[in-house]
Symmetry: C2
Subunit: 147 residues, 2 copies
DNA sequence: GGTTAGACTTAGAACTATTCTAAGTCTATA
DNA sequence: TATAGACTTAGAATAGTTCTAAGTCTAACC
């Protein structure tokens, strides 16, 4: 814990993928390396850009396939904040988010274990899949320092 | 309160729009009539289909423009649950949502005033814009009644 | 160390939801 | 009733994502 957001060695990443039953191809290792090198929030385009910083080596289709696979395997989590904008969050601890639609910035809120307690019972024959809490914020228009 | 989700007369809708400083054109009245005739959750496509049930009279561009205007004026609220899927919610009371990604169904949760209490302080120079709580659920795979 | 079936990756086309554009129409005010 | 500006429209454009079909790699077996 905590180590995840240091730079990880390829061997560590390979191990991490294997533990989740993911065949560690070179593309997947590269993408996981990017996701876990923090900061923790990327959209697909960010991942594509970072993975190909030097030279285009991973296709867009693979980035999407891989992110989808990682979500399915529980390695990363999707956060939906706007139509046509999905963030992939490599922090899988329970936590919530601040989202500033002006800047497009997404920030973690340490889970305080709040919302779940007082939820009403789930609808019949359903089970919990996750709780997303997004606190939308905007830059304050201060009277002292008018924009 | 409560009346909003009975069928409203055009005159009432016109009044509602004027109160929000929205010029009540025939298209806007028709769209508002649809939104407030409940149930409370529609995507743009739903609205477009309902408004043109008899005969195409309102263009897609106008549906989007009008929904955007209603959001800006606080008449309806957007709910983001999946990439490329925005719901428009004509219930503007504080409340949260269940979302079943299997069925695509969105259901209201009466606000219990929970999440806000224990939030950490907002980042510097920002103010609150809203809190979205989405409880993701899925159909239960019961051992008694296997799918 | 080779073979090989199936899994993975790729470029580019296709698709979907949404926004834009530019021209025509309507509204509300005088 | 005239008019300026707001509103609506069809269709093109865009952005993000998924699909397709062909080639490449992986790992399990010999």
């Amino acid at each position: 814990m905590g180590m995840k957001f240091q730079m990880m060695q390829p061997a560590q990443i390979t191990e991490l993928l294997r533990r989740r039953q993911i065949t560690p191809t070179s593309q997947r290792v590269k993408i996981a390396g990017t996701l876990f090198a923090g900061p923790a929030h990327f959209c697909a385009e960010d991942v594509y850009a970072r993975v190909n910083e030097d030279d285009a080596e991973v296709s867009k289709a693979t980035v999407y396939n891989t992110l989808g696979l990682f979500v399915a395997k529980g390695l990363v989590r999707q956060v939906f904040v706007e139509p046509g904008k999905v963030f992939y969050d490599s922090n899988t601890q329970p936590h919530h988010h601040f989202y500033d639609s002006g800047t497009g910035e997404l920030t973690d809120i340490d889970a305080v274990g709040v919302a779940l307690h007082e939820l009403p019972p789930l609808p019949a024959d359903t089970e919990l899949d996750g709780v997303d809490v997004i606190v939308r914020i905007r830059q304050r228009q201060s009277k002292d320092r008018p924009a």
